[in-house]
Amino acid sequence: MTNAIKLKAKDYKSGLKPIWCPGCGHFSVFNAITKAMAALQISKDDTVMVSGIGCSSRLPAYVDSYGFHGVHGRGLAIAQGLKVARPDLTVIAMGGDGDGFSIGGNHFIHACRRNVNMTYIAMDNEVYGMTKGQASPTTPMDWSNSKLTPHGPGVRPFKPAALALASGAPWIARAYSGNPNQMAQLIAQAIEHPGFSFLHVLSQCITFCPEQTDWKAIVNEREEPAVADADEAAKLFLHEDGFQTGLLFEQARATWPPEGMAPVADDALQNLATAFRV
């Protein structure tokens, strides 16, 4: 695409007003996505935002690109089908922790394993916000603010980065909604990474988890380069506190589907039919 005028971040916004609560971390993710798009001068017509259901999954409609707001947990499946059918497009899937790690958990691990060339941004606020505050797969064991689990979920939370690594994801990064500039850079890198890039975003929900305002003090930016060795990355992801941000793991791995399909004969369809003749 040739743009006569250089697009700014705000040019990538559709103008639809977000439904999010004031102070929601997802505003910051939205801004970072549009900043990254502007940094790459990405074509609006050739980009698709795909999501499932949840607060964060509302984001595609707010971006001035093509979009698909699907059903709960299935954004990654829609996105992979789209990217495999249309490899020319830039496909960015997104959603929340419940959508991605609970109802969509199977699609998450298989997307990591399959390594289709696309980006997945998981906005993790450790809570189901749209249904008014229930525990998610990343909620701390003792979080007792939900009527559904008044004594806390009592179940160990997932470590999304460890799960992604074990499932074969070749590019794993973490960002924080309080640091939109770093996040925008990571999103741009994720889009440019040739393969499945998983960006785990700590995106606070001050409505149901006001204690997440404390994240600001805990979050720390990684200064070392990304780990390239899977053994080392496993140690990192199993033992870290989950608040380290930056590009954490990067490894070259073949994407799916393999490139370079066999040439198609003009009479291929006819040959398929002819094969059934007695």
Binding site: Y66, G81, V84, L269
Partner: protein
């Protein structure tokens, strides 16, 4: 005069190759202009166990399951009891079996003519690598008057990737079997023109889908639909499409929604349990107006049910399994050859009407192979989409209900497809007026479309109408013929388009009939209840519904009609 059909069962231990014998015999028969059907029956074992090739050679191309077998060739009797319900023999039947093996008491009691042949010994004599199934093939080919050269040629093609010794052994055994002179008079049906096709309903459906433009398939294996997907994997590679093996059916349906949103016609195939998992996102395709086609090869249900056997019991879920008001297309191929037409029609309708189409095939037509005349194709002449004005409205309210569908990459027509209710632009809306208008739009585009004459196959005149859908049509047509020979004239209506039901056309087709008998292969009378819920019948309406896995019987249908009219 030749009889109308000749039924032959070849049984043996799994691995003995009886299915190959059946396939080669039918192909050689087809080369000589013959018509016929091959059903494959297996025990529940993954490998081994007992298997049977159930052949029905016929004068025409109306393929029903055999009631009784004229000839059973049993390579051994181990586990034969598993097929006792399926392979019935009578006093006029012939049994050819291995010399020295005693007949099971239940088979002996039927009083059939028995011929003992030292099959294993002859196969071993013929060639060091000789196999009993090839000897049986030669023997049967000879009884049917088929040239041994043709059988050897077909066997050679099937074994083309095996070592030369395999082909030599096969030829030696075929010729040895063909040279046997057995006192077993068979009366094969008349043969016709040899210009035919040989394929299964599952292959036919795959071909229909690719010819209609499908270029993306997401696949999750399930019996009895896996072979559609396996055939399409090879087919797509040749025509430049993609097949993605999904992690589950939830992924498969959403992957095709994604591909279709990208403007690439997309398809999946499944069976009952998979269809149940897919229903949520079939609703997403309906709401977001994304065209997808789902082939559901029905098997015995509910739950895991009877995975390897046929039943027409997914009609209810196909028609009404989606939550909310979700109008969509439901079609059913009438026979193996019609799988090409109906699947192609479904794809073209789904694409044009921007909705989900569910095609209800079943294990019987899906996994049986048959010799058929060149299948009819579907080429709809569809109106062009309206040109887009400057302010693109994805869900624009139009006279036809169909609005122009842009795809990513199209310049300046950006929109977000949504399963949330939305306005014309596609922005989420919970307003009653938007909901009402979009519900009407999605309904109207389906009901206002002119489906032409292919909604059903209507035949005959008479006071009794037999109404059915999909694969029941062959047994119903045979039942109608039987009734005709008994002096009872009938009209048959085999429905191909089930939703939206063409109620006016059906009422016209039934005009003048005094009684309607609804015939279907399920327990709860699903079609009967559906039709009565959709229309007011001036006629008395009767239900003839029999659960699978036994195939519908023309005799029993005729008996039922006789019962209700007296």
């Amino acid at each position: 005069m030749s009889q109308q059909s000749l039924s032959i069962a070849i049984t043996g231990a799994g691995g003995a190759g009886v299915i190959s014998s059946g396939e080669l015999l039918l192909q050689a028969w087809a080369r000589e202009g013959g018509r016929g059907l091959l059903r494959k029956a297996f025990g529940p074992q993954i490998r081994g166990g007992e298997s049977a090739a159930l052949l029905k050679l016929t004068a025409g191309e109306r393929y029903t399951a055999s009631g009784q077998y004229d000839l059973v060739l049993a390579l051994d009797w181990d586990n034969f009891s598993r097929f006792e319900d399926e392979i019935r023999v009578g006093p006029d039947s012939w049994i050819i079996c291995e010399d020295g093996e005693s007949l099971p008491p239940a088979v002996a009691a039927l009083g059939a003519n028995v011929l003992s042949v030292p099959i294993t010994e002859l196969a071993n004599e013929s060639h060091p690598d000789g196999r009993v199934n090839m000897l049986a093939l030669g023997l049967l080919g000879n009884l049917l008057g088929l040239p041994a050269d043709s059988l050897c040629d077909l066997a050679g093609q099937k074994l083309s990737r095996k070592p030369e010794a395999y082909r030599e052994a096969a030829s030696a055994c075929i010729r040895r079997g063909a040279a046997l002179s057995l006192d077993c008079p068979l009366d094969p049906p008349a043969r016709g023109e040899p210009d035919t096709w040989y394929l299964s309903g599952n292959q036919a459906a795959g071909l229909g889908a690719l010819e209609a433009g499908i270029r993306f398939v997401a696949a999750y294996p399930i019996t009895p639909a896996s072979d559609v997907l396996e055939w399409m994997a090879g087919g797509l590679e040749q025509v430049g499409g993609q097949l993605l093996q999904a992690e589950d059916e939830l992924a498969a349906i959403n992957m095709i929604v994604g591909a279709a949103f990208g403007g690439v016609p997309a398809f999946t195939a499944t069976s009952g349990p998979g269809l149940a998992l897919m229903t949520e996102s079939i609703g997403l395709a309906v709401a977001s107006e994304t065209p997808v086609t789902i082939l559901n090869v029905m098997r015995g249900g509910p739950s895991t049910g009877i995975p390897t056997k046929s039943e027409q019991s997914d009609l209810n879920i196909a028609l009404g399994g989606l939550h909310g008001d979700a109008p969509h297309l439901v079609l059913a191929p009438l026979d193996i050859a019609d799988c090409v037409f109906t699947t192609g029609w479904a794809v073209q309708l789904a694409q044009h009407l921007q909705t989900a189409a569910i095609v209800l095939s079943d294990q019987f037509i899906g996994q049986s192979t048959a010799v058929v005349s060149e299948p009819r194709r579907c080429e709809l002449k569809l109106p062009a989409m309206e040109p887009v004005d400057t302010d693109y409205l994805r869900y624009k309210l139009t006279a036809s209900g169909v609005s122009t569908l842009a795809a990513p990459g199209d310049a300046d027509q950006r929109f977000t497809a949504d399963g949330l209710e939305h306005n014309e632009k596609g922005a989420p809306s919970a307003k009653h007026s938007d909901h009402q208008l979009q519900l009407e739009k999605r309904q109207h585009k389906l009901t206002a479309f002119d489906y032409g004459d292919d909604w059903a196959h209507v035949e005959g005149e008479g006071p009794v109408a037999l109404v059915c859908f999909g694969s029941a049509s062959a047994a119903v047509a045979e039942g109608a013929e039987l009734l005709g020979s008994q002096g009872i004239a009938t009209r048959t209506v085999a429905l191909r388009l089930l939703a939206p039901l063409q109620a006016d056309a059906l009422a016209r087709a039934l005009a003048g009939c005094e009684r309607v008998v609804v015939v279907e292969q399920n327990h709860s009378k699903q079609l009967f209840h559906y039709l009565r819920g959709q229309m007011d019948f001036p006629q008395a309406v009767h239900s003839y519904a029999v659960a699978g896995p036994v195939p519908l019987s023309a005799n029993e249908i005729a008996d039922f009609v006789n019962e209700v009219i007296t």
